[in-house]
Symmetry: C2
């Protein structure tokens, strides 16, 4: 299959849906909405929404059905980037080749734009657009899954540990906690929520969870490797930042070669997790392989 | 009825439920959870959870039924205070007589504690504890109501306008936008969500919405007045801060006397909105009157 064409088609679907979710507004809060849209349309890869739709397709579902959830995942991912880039966190000026939110809108409005995006994700998830076509009880389970993955038992825990342990000695267990929480949790929730909303049974949900965990960790290892081997122009953000900030990463703890090996093994295991699925899971298989090859 | 006894009983119910919602944790994220708990148990009045339970009672419902929603509202309120107190926002050192979150845990962890509380609110709302006893479709409507009231069409919009217009000329329309969004939206959602979860029909939901809007605005006017007339020891936060920061307030725009009159009128209108309700709405009526008398 042609992965690039698949990704492009899905990315365009997501972009259209995101645009419709959050139109520009008039009135006193117009600048807040502009700030939310600025980061939402700053050139993201849309990996999480695409995984959500591919998860639905893999179990025979309609990707359009899960679009509200796919958009909600991108809202949550975008909020996490805005807050992560703030001066009190990673203090990054550049993201995807553009000035970060607080450089354009100031720290306070960037903070609030993140808060707004996170909150609106749950408006999207609870909207009738989803529950008119999926059993409300199932939608509630997906809200529980996504909020659990995004919050203090998931992504937010990863970010807290990332900040707290900067420059401190770390072991492999802490590194794995960090990566599975900071990046892996939401990536796993993306693919699993898509499958669940499309009616996956318990065995398929387990397989998707396994797949998501493996590619989530592989994805973060790629991020760490690209921070060393990539270049600023291609990535659209400064490289070498992890070393400068003494972040805990796979390369810093295991070396580059060993990190590459772990990543390859994870991708193989992710593909193996899908062995009971037919050709409709090919996009998920290709996405897993793409994670090793990606340059940004 | 004895309002103080009612408030105390409900506050204790809420405190027990909050404690069970968010137990201390071991492991790398323990400090994050401690930060979340620090602000959650920093002596809040629990107004929003109590309004949620009183809303349920007013339509003949069981207040214990709506406890997960009541707790979620307090999580959202607490997150908003943590973010509001951050140096990039209002830069407050004291809240309810205690050092604010970022003074104790640092700016980054305070930011993340807020993010964690906001996210966890939606885990509480989507948990089986609520949907086992209330129709899932109704729970989804309440999630939509609360996220709408908390986000960029509600509270977050109010906070954005509060920051953006500091020190700038304001008119009555902007002042009302600010107050109805910053404080009124979540207070209204609190009482309405309680009534909805307890099965209120459309007419009663409309009446509760009217009641909530009136007391929400009255409550914020009281806050503005107390910032001038109250004292730091009773309030547990610095008074005179609004004037120092050139905040848009009712007293600054209308004067103290006129602000007091508007507040009294709003309370009367709030009580009138409940005229079709029987004695089970007495707590709501008393709470409306208490808003005028409160000293903190």
């Amino acid at each position: 299959m042609a992965l690039q064409a698949y990704l492009k088609e899905k990315r365009e679907m997501v972009n259209r849906a995101l645009d419709a979710c959050l139109p520009e507004e008039e009135g006193p809060a117009s600048r807040l909405v502009s700030a939310m849209r600025y980061s939402l349309f700053a050139g993201g890869k849309r990996l999480r929404p695409i995984l959500c739709m591919a998860g639905a397709e893999a179990v025979g579902g309609d990707p359009a059905l899960v679009l509200p959830a796919a958009c909600a995942l991108e809202f949550i991912h975008t909020y996490s980037l805005i807050h992560d880039d703030l001066p009190v966190m990673d203090d990054d000026d550049l993201r995807r080749g553009k000035p970060t939110s607080h450089k354009v809108f100031g720290d306070a409005l960037a903070l609030l734009a993140g808060d707004g995006l996170l909150t609106e994700a749950f408006s999207l998830l609870s909207s009738p657009r989803l529950s008119e076509r999926v059993a409300p009880q199932l939608v509630l389970r997906v809200i529980g899954l996504i909020s659990g993955a995004a919050g203090h038992r998931g992504m937010v825990a990863g970010q807290a540990v990332d900040i707290q342990f900067e420059g401190k000695p770390a072991d492999a267990a802490l590194l794995e906690f960090l990566h599975t929480h900071k990046t892996g949790a939401l990536i796993t929730a993306a693919v699993v929520s898509g499958a669940m909303l499309a009616g996956a049974d318990a065995a398929r949900v387990r397989a998707m969870t396994e797949y998501g965990r493996k590619i989530g960790l592989a994805f973060q290892i790629s991020d760490d490797i690209l921070d060393i081997e990539g270049d600023t122009a291609t990535l659209g953000k400064k490289t070498g930042a992890d070393e400068e900030k003494k972040k805990i990463t796979y390369p810093s703890l295991m070396g580059l070669d060993r990190s590459g090996e772990i990543r390859s093994r994870l991708v193989t295991e992710a593909v193996n997790a899908l062995k009971s699925f037919d050709h409709r899971a090919d996009p998920l298989r290709e996405i897993a392989r793409y994670i090793v090859e990606r340059k940004k």
